[in-house]
């Protein structure tokens, strides 16, 4: 028993030296809520207070005073991070006027908000927007990457950080036109045969999503 305790003690420093294997979790700015820890230690002195998400956050840059030239985009889904803090510089702001290029390298992010397609450039005002099913396109210079997004939220922070949180996002080339048409027909028939409000709402949602898919594939 004592042998094992000493073995465990010997093992711990080795683990600590190897450090955290997941760099996404490095507490670069280990700030914790001081009031919470104080209140906890007062009431329950025997246990360590539990950690809170603040200690696991990756630090965000502070709000700059002038319009920033970079937009950092964080596009996350429950199963993956599509774009994890990818920086998009908008070089037109620091281009020398003599630059003779026919195509202006531009970065633009178009999100399908409930009020319509919204364009995001570096220096956009801080916004919280809910997304409806539609196409999200990332214009990076001349390349365009399009995703069909089911729904979610987009937060644009004052420090030129954009967070897009979506439930499902697929690149457009993975969508099958026939299945979309079939789904649309199915939900339209469901709506006409729906009795309760709940069924009507569900059918309506299905129609919205499929018609958005349709327009995304055709338009």
């Amino acid at each position: 028993m004592l042998r094992r305790a000493s073995m465990l003690l010997a093992r711990r420093p080795i683990l600590a030296a190897r450090a955290r294997p997941f760099s996404t979790d490095l507490p670069a700015a280990p700030s914790a809520d001081a009031t919470f820890t104080e209140a906890w230690t007062k009431v329950i002195p025997n246990m360590d207070p539990p950690k809170t998400p603040l200690s696991f956050m990756q630090p965000r840059p502070p709000t700059p005073s002038s319009i920033p030239s970079k937009l950092t985009v964080n596009f996350v889904l429950p199963y993956a991070s599509e774009l994890a803090t990818k920086e998009f510089a908008n070089p037109c702001y620091d281009l020398i006027p003599v630059f003779k290029h026919s195509i202006l390298s531009l970065f633009l992010l178009i999100v399908p908000a409930t009020t319509g397609q919204m364009g995001v450039l570096p220096g956009h005002v801080a916004t919280i927007a809910e997304l409806k099913p539609g196409v999200l396109s990332v214009h990076e210079g001349s390349e365009v990457t399009k995703y069909f997004v089911s729904s979610g939220f987009v937060f644009i922070h004052a420090n030129s950080f954009a967070d897009i949180i979506a439930v499902e996002a697929v690149p457009l080339d993975r969508l099958d036109v026939n299945l979309v048409q079939k789904g649309l027909a199915e939900f339209t028939s469901k709506l006409s045969s729906a009795t309760t409000d709940l069924e009507k709402a569900e059918a309506q949602i299905g129609i919205d999503v499929h018609s958005a898919l349709n327009s995304a594939l055709t338009g």
Binding site: K51, V76, P78, A129, F153, D163
Partner: protein, 325 residues
């Protein structure tokens, strides 16, 4: 002199040799008997009991080793999912901050635990933290309710906090965890439980040997508005323009619900990883203990075996020398 020495040896083993009647009495209930009967008047301890114990301990060692392998493979499968879901809650904390010390009237503690046991102390830690939060948030006009996910926390909390439990959900891991399932669950919780603040208690997975108890707080939209007005960490929430035809209140409501489902998804995955990791280390130490026990039993077995052989030898020799001399 040799005879005297042998007699001395005989006396040393005297406790093992006892008069016959007692042997007859004792041998009947034990079959295979502890004391075997050799030639008349002789008894030596059988190795049968020790051998049985060794067999059972060896089986236990095999089982725990197998359980460790199973836990390791399950951990590998679920670890990638958990890592991928880590980016999901960060935007919410970046926007709304993290206020575990918010003073609210209706607290709901969502305790996430496992259904199966043999996973070390992680479920007990979660329950202790939940009870701690209950104590922390107790006061006049304040109430704390529990929503329990998993059998183990249910067993522990039902004993003393039965009246505070709102909802119990078990068999979460019957199907592989996915976002749809968790969002349905979150919907159920939000529908049935009135809350001002939801505190989700789970074990965050650092590494195979390290799990940190964590509490994530999701505030209801009214409390968010209240905190935003009073300034402090959420003070700049007002500076955010809210796009959308609906009012800010509705957007915040949707936001709170979405945040809850995202945080729950991450929490459930992390807890599942922690469970498998804890089970791995528990089964590993169990197999090591079984190995140690087996070593000790083997030594006892050999000693007993050798002692019985020695006794036999002595009896034969003393018998032979009695015949000669």
């Amino acid at each position: 002199m040799a005879l005297a020495a042998l007699r001395r040896e005989g006396r040393r083993f005297a406790p093992m040799i006892s008069p016959r009647p007692i042997t007859a009495l004792r041998s009947s209930p034990l079959a295979p008997s502890l004391e075997d009967e050799g030639p008349i008047g002789v008894r030596y301890i059988s190795t049968q009991v020790v051998r049985n114990r060794m067999k059972s301990v060896k089986n236990i060692q095999k089982i725990t080793k197998a359980m460790k392998m199973v836990a390791a493979s399950k951990l590998r499968a679920i670890q990638t999912k958990a890592e991928n879901s880590r980016g999901l809650w960060q935007p919410f904390t970046a926007l709304l901050g993290d206020l575990p010390s918010a003073d609210v009237k209706k607290n709901v503690v969502v305790t996430i635990s496992s259904d199966k046991g043999l996973c070390g102390g992680i479920n007990s830690t979660s329950v202790k933290i939940s009870k701690g939060l209950h104590k922390l948030n107790s006061g006049p006009e304040k109430e704390t309710k529990y929503v329990i996910l998993g059998e183990k926390a249910k067993a522990q909390l039902i004993r003393d906090s039965k009246k505070d439990i709102e909802l119990i959900i078990t068999e979460l891991q019957k199907n592989p965890l996915n976002y749809t399932q968790v969002s349905v669950l979150a919907d159920e919780i939000l529908k049935n439980v009135e809350y001002d603040a939801l505190r989700i208690v789970f074990n965050k997975f650092y590494s195979v040997v390290s799990f940190v108890p964590t509490v994530s707080t999701v505030l209801s939209p009214e409390i968010v508005e209240r905190e935003a007005e009073s300034g402090g960490k959420l003070g700049d929430l007002d500076s955010y323009e809210v796009e959308g035809g609906e009012t800010k209140g509705e957007i915040l409501q949707n936001l709170a619900e979405f945040q809850f489902s995202c945080v729950m998804f991450n929490a459930v995955l992390e807890n599942a990883c922690s469970e498998q990791g804890a089970r791995m280390s528990a089964m590993d130490s169990s197999s090591r203990n079984a190995g140690d026990m087996l070593d000790r039993l083997t030594l006892t077995y050999n000693r007993t075996r050798q002692a019985s052989i020695t006794t036999e030898l002595i009896e034969i020799i003393s018998g032979a020398s009695a015949l000669e001399g």
